[in-house]
Symmetry: C3
Subunit: 392 residues, 3 copies
């Protein structure tokens, strides 16, 4: 998996336990082939007749790398893989794959409320299965919905939101928002006026179960989250780039990809900087170069590659290499964005290590970096930066 001629210290640093600073719970139940295929595709539709979602980079990697974890030969056929998965049972599969990822701490987004959440492992369970610590990321849209459902009046909504965020901040390591998926990242970066929020909240309260797509309320939510995060010294994670849909909210029309370009957060980031709240950009692909640029510009902006390595799989080295063009090494984080099936978490860690290993190996072979620097950078990205940012 790693280049054969890496110095031992660099190899050790790459294989050291990771902090997975952003993941979701995986399904606790046994999955049919149809259900498994739906979960490994971002679109949520079955593959066209005569085709399979296994014929993707991700599917090839499942057969190559996850099959042996389930005692199968590498490249096992899809039917054999899914059948072995059922034979072992979801709990055993999850244990093997999550523990196999080599993670020391999972930061878990419990997701949006709604149908299906009970099918997902909780943060505590993710930690137990993976033999790791676990902390909770608080999805701010979930807080907002609870407040919207219970607030009698717009003023209650405003007060309640701040209180609820502050209360949850006390037990969390970070806030997370999927505003980019709900209304794009090209929003007006300024705090909305109280009057405009009251007006929008009045509309919101008439139908609080709908996903939040109102730009004024999302801006208000983000700024409220910044305020609560500031009090507690928490970072704010922002979904950016591909898969611009909120899990459990697939009934929404999806925002066009270019509107989720993290480069559009430049001015918002500039306004947040004086408040000292770190902003962490998730996924970012195919705008990861733009994200790396922002991380190089703003001292409080961080970035990960999220789902890009597990999905690009054998092709993930280039994505990591592109991130390393501009992103300061103290600004890169490891996050698997694991969701749906534990394979994402296993392959996320594997392809992250493989991609970073390829980048470091190339620099060492060319004499560009010293082995000590390569090992130090691997440690920073794999766990050190996350420990600093999330105060773990």
């Amino acid at each position: 998996m790693l280049p054969v001629d890496l110095p031992g210290t660099v190899r050790d640093a790459l294989l050291a336990p990771l902090v997975d600073h952003h993941c979701h719970g995986v399904r606790r139940d046994d999955l049919s082939r149809a259900a498994f295929e739906l979960l490994v595709n971002e679109g949520g539709s079955p593959a066209p007749p005569g085709t399979t979602h296994f014929d993707t980079a991700f599917g090839m990697a499942v057969r190559r790398w996850c099959a042996p974890v389930l005692d199968l030969e590498p490249h096992a056929p899809p039917a054999v893989y899914v059948s072995r998965r059922e034979e072992l049972g979801a709990a055993e599969v999850n244990r093997r794959l999550l523990a196999g990822a080599g993670v020391v701490a999972f930061l878990v987004d419990g997701g949006a409320d709604g149908v299906g959440d009970a099918d997902l492992l909780t943060a505590t369970e993710m930690g137990r299965h993976g033999g790791a610590a676990a902390d909770e990321l608080v999805r701010v849209e979930r807080i907002e919905r609870a407040v919207a459902e219970s607030a009698p009046l717009a003023v209650d909504y405003l007060d309640g939101l701040g209180d609820a965020l502050a209360a949850r901040a006390a037990k969390a390591v970070a806030f997370k928002s999927v505003a980019g998926a709900l209304c794009g990242l090209d929003f007006d970066p300024a705090r909305p006026s109280r009057g405009s929020v009251i007006a929008a909240a009045n509309r919101r309260l008439s139908d609080p179960k709908r996903p939040l797509t109102d730009e004024v309320l999302l801006r208000h939510l983000l700024w409220s989250a910044v305020d609560a995060a500031r009090e507690r010294g928490l970072p704010l994670q922002l979904h950016a780039g591909f898969r611009p849909a909120a899990p459990g909210e697939t009934s929404l029309p999806w925002v066009d990809l270019h509107r989720a370009d993290p480069g559009r957060l430049n001015e918002f980031a500039g306004l947040v900087q004086p408040l000292g709240v770190p902003i962490v950009l998730l996924h970012c692909y195919p705008y990861h170069r733009q994200a790396a640029y922002l991380a190089s510009l703003h001292p409080h902006v961080y970035v990960d590659a999220g789902l890009a390595p597990p999905h690009a799989a054998a092709a993930s080295a280039r994505v990591m290499a592109e991130l390393l063009e501009l992103a300061p090494f103290h600004k890169l984080l490891y996050g698997s964005a694991c969701h749906g099936v534990a394979e994402t978490g296993y392959l996320g860690a594997l392809h992250y290590r493989q991609a970073l290993g390829a980048a470091l190996g190339a620099r060492l072979a060319a004499g560009e970096w010293s082995p000590a620097d390569a090992a130090r950078v691997a440690h920073m990205i794999g766990s050190g930066n996350a420990r600093r940012v999330y105060r773990l």
Copy 2:
């Protein structure tokens, strides 16, 4: 051309005859050096004084790879190449290059009506020269123009357009639109109202010979094409990304590149999906990652790299590798976008095989894929997917 250590089955799959699902007729007449240079440049202007359009990746590839097909040494100077081309005559050159591409079926866009079309080989001739079957792609803007020129009233335009598309659908394998080049892909994805179409058609009928740039009429044309395609089970090809100009319509101001980003078709694709009409994205460069993402999200969206491999030439492996990051392997198609000179078709096939061969070779060397999977994927992209989508 291919990695030396590829397994025989993979090599055979790469070298097997291709379905070229999107190309244009090439010039049937002998070409002066000036004419040849103009045809191999997308801009349509001569190179600046003291320079030549041969000093491009494409020009280098012509000298390296096409020269031997014309019995010259590799790297023959431009003057020698053009002179040998004239010596052999256009017919012989076209035969050698088109047959040398190793294509079993050409799907040919006859282009817009207008000056110069008689200089281009027809679909039937492309097939005869290339020793291949040939089918026709129907450019919907051509249909629209004919209808606009003959319709006395706006209502006739509306009725006539539907009838003409239905009539042509009966003899074609797909529709193709260059709406992206004419008004961008950032159009309102909804069907336009009948009233707005009538109003726009009234303006259109006063000057039907102008290229169609009215957004309402282009949306109406696209949705009419979707309806006709649905009846016949045809796909709709959409020009995206670079070279956002319609051949024969170069007098138009060209739409800015970012407006031809195929990612902007996300919502349109979502609206078309329930109708079961496949959408095929052409070219896409430099937004091919966005196109691959759309193909991974929507079960009816397909993608090719079009002109990127022949133009990037020696650099085309990276473009293919980037497509393979997210595009499902059952969603990728081979298309040369051959136009102007048969060199495009020859180099399109050569660089496609070379680039895919490099990607497969790297995965096999790393043990990421099995040889059987690599051969299967090469077959799918080279011809299998096209046979399925176009029902060949």
Copy 3:
């Protein structure tokens, strides 16, 4: 630094003296570690507590490649490097690094007026330190500000601007504009009406010391520069892509990156073409593929990679390789965008040679290009194109 198996002629062509067609003066004074770190980061803020701006690709390259120029071991620690820098003194450091870049002529942007300019080497000094010729690039925003500060009335502003540009054109090799950083490149490409300029100039004259961000006046400035450049046969350089901030004008809110995409200049470039004024796109990253496309389309558009190679450092080969996909070889220029510290100039040249050497080496190894062609292209990009465009 170069691939070991390059033919001697290609190696010689890569190592031949470069024309650095775009750079800035570097600091003439000794720099503390804090000052050095601020200058090597584009954001202008110190690194977060516990981190350092040395933990970047650029910082690693300084320690690897610049340390030996200052008689240190490769990979010297940051503290050792900065201390040795102070020990040698800024003049000696600048001499070693600028001379070490292997440049035969610097074209130097003197920058905006304002605080700190006296700390920077002048064009003449850059040449003297680097053992090279030096010519001046005229920043048009500087001309505009002088005119705005002295014009009593809007009509004086209009007349004075044209006169001042014409006067400076007589002594310069090119104009340069940072309009992309001040208001984006997505401006209305047409010449603004005289009435709109008069109205905007009246507002401008009430506060002439503010950076110019009015779109009408920036368009007027660009078109006035085009007119003056046309008279003298000068090119117009346009800042594009990353680092969309004007040095010395960091108090401005920075334009979002996507608005500095050079692809947005397509229509402006089309309008300028008949006037015969070359347009040179600077930096462009991460939109360098879009810039290369424009250079392939428009006969008068040129492109460089600017700050991308020194900043991406060990990762710069991919950026160069992407430029070479579509950019005609007679349209690429070498420019270090050297600024702040002479390390930028040294690493700019080193990583440019390294990246181009890697691209040429790969093409030669694959038999894609002949050695003679590779050497010719290296010569064109390194100096030949600049000599032609700037009439050196």
